[in-house]
Symmetry: C2
Subunit: 201 residues, 2 copies
Amino acid sequence: MSAAAGSRPLRADAERSTARILAAAEEVLAVDANATLERIADAAGLARATVHRRFSSRKALLEALTGVLNERYVCGLEQARVATAPPIAALYRLTELLFELKAGNRAIMELTADPATKMTPMSPEVTAGLELLFRRLREAGEITAPDPAWCCAVYLAIVHEAAQLPTSSPMLGDAAGEVGARADLTYRTVLGALGGGHPHG
Amino acid sequence: MSAAAGSRPLRADAERSTARILAAAEEVLAVDANATLERIADAAGLARATVHRRFSSRKALLEALTGVLNERYVCGLEQARVATAPPIAALYRLTELLFELKAGNRAIMELTADPATKMTPMSPEVTAGLELLFRRLREAGEITAPDPAWCCAVYLAIVHEAAQLPTSSPMLGDAAGEVGARADLTYRTVLGALGGGHPHG
DNA sequence: CCTAAATGCTACACGACAGTATCATTTAAG
DNA sequence: CTTAAATGATACTGTCGTGTAGCATTTAGG
């Protein structure tokens, strides 16, 4: 669990602090990407100095945070059996997991990449997993869009929009609970967007 | 054309300065939403002091910029005859216009709204026009999604993604030029996403 | 219990940026 | 041409956020 395994093992409470800081950062930065370290410290119930003790700089904190997010994506990709399960099932499962893990936080992923390079904030592992999924979807005839990169972009964009959709929307009407309804909507929308044969659910 | 018609008519060169500043701001802020006023001034070929003369504060500049963007949207909605033309044709025309006018700059629109309120940066007029279009699309049976707000969100998200798609993508293969190909892709993707009957082009 | 680690708190240095002011110079417009 | 507006350049102020340091206190862990 430790953020950096390079140094001596941290004490138990210190480890908890890092976890609380990362959680607070995720929560605060999701609302305001330029939030102060002090705001994050407050949300974590800690002093700003402690934040600086666990993370040498703001940049370091952001990188650690994107690391956590990437881990979640990887976890989701594994659980969804993106490489082995029937691709439609994998897509559905992955979508559910993304909403459960609240990994749909697109804004946070773009905090690390500096404005100049515009590099992808997602790890190559995650990108590869997602592209594999959409390649398999295409080979199975579930979608027609030939470019995995485009598929990923559309998928993540729709996940983001579905996550921000107000609970009162008629798009989330029946059946399952909060996350289930959003996942369902995302699933159907993405398949339609990428040329799936299901015109509707 | 003047940003604020409240005061005496500006001299011709001053008016040009404001225009150049707004153009530079649009260009620079599209890359880095937190760019300095000095960077904007440099891009406009003006001194930072001049920026402060034409716009009383950074906030004022941002508001003026979103105003310009909103005007473009309104212009596009009018030209596309969103209220009167056959809805599919209006959607296609509007999409073309958005790419021509480079109005797809989603990031800039979110600069005005402070993180707390999370209000929509688009003017009610634009929102109403877009929702009208999607309501008409639904009534015409072109899409099935019942929530206009969801339709708008998905539409704008896909426009944004299509705008960022690299020119080398196989999704932009044949037929028309740059903007035409992106508009075409957006059009097909959106209809599919919202439950349109066209599984592919 | 005892030691070392971790934290809270305060103060401070440093840099970045917004905004203001002044003056000389250029430029539009009558 | 003549006047007033607009600009460039420079300097200055004030604020905010990051990062550092020191000290007293609390807490984990042997």
